[in-house]
Symmetry: C4
Subunit: 246 residues, 4 copies
């Protein structure tokens, strides 16, 4: 595929992309604020469905963090726009910046999970400590039943450089109600309808990873019965929060 | 019961409610500040006794956090006012916002513990880790004797959706001097004469949960003798702090 | 002793006391900043030697935190001034505020350790976890040899209300090079030439309590040889820092 | 060597030194911000190659923190400039301030590792807890393979006062791809092409020390296979980040 440039996109596509850049840049601030990342690690992305505004053959793109840039320096204008095969689309503001080194994994998720509109990756310490052991977080808290609908699953060990990580994420999450997967000896990836929901899942994944880590120091907590997990999950998906609130 | 609206209440009742909204909104800031909550979890409420200003049959109401709203967005005006059976009272400012999904538990406490004027619920990590094991925090620190008058007790496992959680809180706290109860595999609830005292109890519950967790890593600390606990508790209730200071 | 009032003191005594109030109020901010205290717990005091300005029989006083007041509300003017027997001296600014409930312990230290000009008490979590077990922190880090000159010792279990706590602090510290003592099932007290040095000792006591707690999770660290501890301590007392820098 | 003064250096040398002072002062703020230091502990330095601007025999100097000064008080003007044998060079701004007590160790590294342009030392708690046991951090996380190219090694126990610490750092790091070494019962030292890279290594060293500490609480994580470590390290050194971004 030859290199695309944003000036080949319609005005309304550019407006949708610009709005998403702001959302993604702002949400990155939640990662250090919630103690999920060190230095420049971690990244957030969000899909932009272009619909009729898409130049063929680009029906959707996604916006992601540039690689190796400090959280203090992230702005809407240095976010990077990519096609769903993970290729950067040129523009006039982020010139010279490469997308996150995890871009291929995000792209794979967007290509294979059409309902996913946001992806987050961190190395948050407690979640990554479960990942280092390759151990599922058991559903022993009502908030886990609410948010994750059961255990937080583990994905395979996979090296960066091809589709292995993306495929591991998708295969694991397609078999689970959980929006979070702990990639073996690597760290958590989370998904959501948009980037905000994926950030929420990343925050709560670390929270439950930490709480269950602490709990089992003095005895194994008892898993909540499956029918009770199901009841809590169903209720939370339907009742919690404000109907028109993200 | 048909839906009430605050414009059916007297001016002095509305003034008391407005003042309480400000107090409850401000106290919510203590929860993230003291690292007791992640994302939108956790909630604070305070009772408003209306006395002669109450329209029959509403002698008291309480003010509580709206459900699923970010801590950054909480203001006096979007706090929700409820009757003691947990039904939202309409108003012109929080229109469209539902009260916290834990409202029924707060309401149950206010109905059954007339001396309680404030309730707090969090999933703070150390306290919740004791709750995950269903294990009482033993009174091994002078500050526990001061503030809790003994061990911090555990309440039953209960599902959201009816009075189970409220009943579990009340039955456990009525048999204890502690203002905090650890609900099994759920998290802590705390009470106080007002919301500020309940927030204080939530902060100190997490503090002692953390300190005793750390202490027993290398040996079980010795419980303080009961007559010494009694002496410390009696002294703290009567001597500590400023007589006219909240 | 009948009640004293600061207006019975000379102008120069009042100036010295006012300057100390500011120092003590400012240093209290270091306690929450360094995560040493929860809610209103913890306190800092500093001695004021009045010399020739002292009205007989008050050759020295000390300035301490008022009891139960929030860290956000502490100012120079609401600090409380006490004689060395722990009695509040009246003034026109802190009227109605009682001194910290730990005032008797601070006073005992000032009466029995003339070289001590500052005292700090906290319930910082790691140091208190060692205190809960009544266990000395072994000198396994060069920074412990530098700052504490050896192990951090444990003092006896003592109830508030008489001289027991103060006596336990003094008897333990007089047999040690350490400026910190862990009072059994209570928490750390630290001393220094002034309040700043005592605050430094409180910060570093928590730091070493935390680091050694973490270290022994996977094996007991080896104590540094006594002659090496002696060499490090001697060097640190004489060489470290700036000669004219507090 | 008789005492040098910066006024013996060329204008361009002074400009290079002034720019480095600002960089080093600013980077010190990353240490408390990333929770790597308590009180005045910890220090950052950066080499200044003077090239043709050097007065003989001073081809290079380095800029380092003054000893025992609070992080809040660090500015470009109170940074201290030293020759590569660790002797302070006089100037008109930092008069009276001594360089960090770890200056000799930094100087030894600069003398013996010509490619090193920045050095950082902290007592960060998790890294120091591994150092207290004298235990290597095993490479069980992809981010360790990326950043450290394998395990984080341990250096010998060495007392301050001569070249022992510097020699221990250099001998350990020359046999490793890791930019971090855990000095036995002391703490981590890190190196980099400049001070920013050394600060990054200090932040990530603490991060991996913490994550692997947590991971092994419930089982030993499996080391990544050597050929996979090699592949990740090679890729990270060549691909990650922006080509023209520090």
């Amino acid at each position: 595929m030859s290199t695309l440039h944003l000036n080949e996109f319609s005005d309304s596509a550019n407006q949708a992309i610009a709005a998403t850049r702001q959302i993604v840049a702002d949400l990155h601030a939640e990662l250090p604020r919630n103690d999920l990342v060190a230095w420049t690690a971690g990244n957030v992305s969000q899909r932009v469905d272009l619909g009729e505004d898409a130049p063929e053959p680009v029906p959707a793109v996604f916006v992601i963090k540039p690689s190796g840039v400090s959280y203090d320096e992230l702005t809407a204008s240095n976010m990077v726009v990519c096609t769903l095969d993970g290729t950067k689309i040129d523009d006039d503001t982020s010139t010279g910046l490469s997308p996150s080194s995890d871009t291929a994994a995000h792209a794979y998720v967007y290509r294979h999970m059409p309902a996913v509109g946001g992806v987050v990756h961190t190395h948050s310490a407690y979640a990554t400590s479960w990942a280092a052991r390759g151990e599922v977080i058991p559903c022993v808290l009502t908030m886990m039943a609410d948010e994750f609908g059961g255990d937080v699953p583990v994905g395979p060990f996979a090296l960066i450089g091809d589709d292995s990580i993306g495929r591991g994420i998708v295969e694991t999450l397609q078999g689970s109600r959980s929006p979070a997967v702990l990639m073996d000896r690597h760290g958590p990836f989370t998904i959501g309808a948009g980037a905000q929901e994926a950030v929420k899942a990343a925050v709560l994944c670390e929270e439950v990873a930490r709480t269950v880590h602490l709990a089992r120091a003095y005895g194994e907590p008892q898993r909540i019965a499956q029918h009770q997990i199901d009841a809590l999950y169903a209720r939370y998906q339907n009742v919690y929060g404000q109907k028109d609130h993200a």
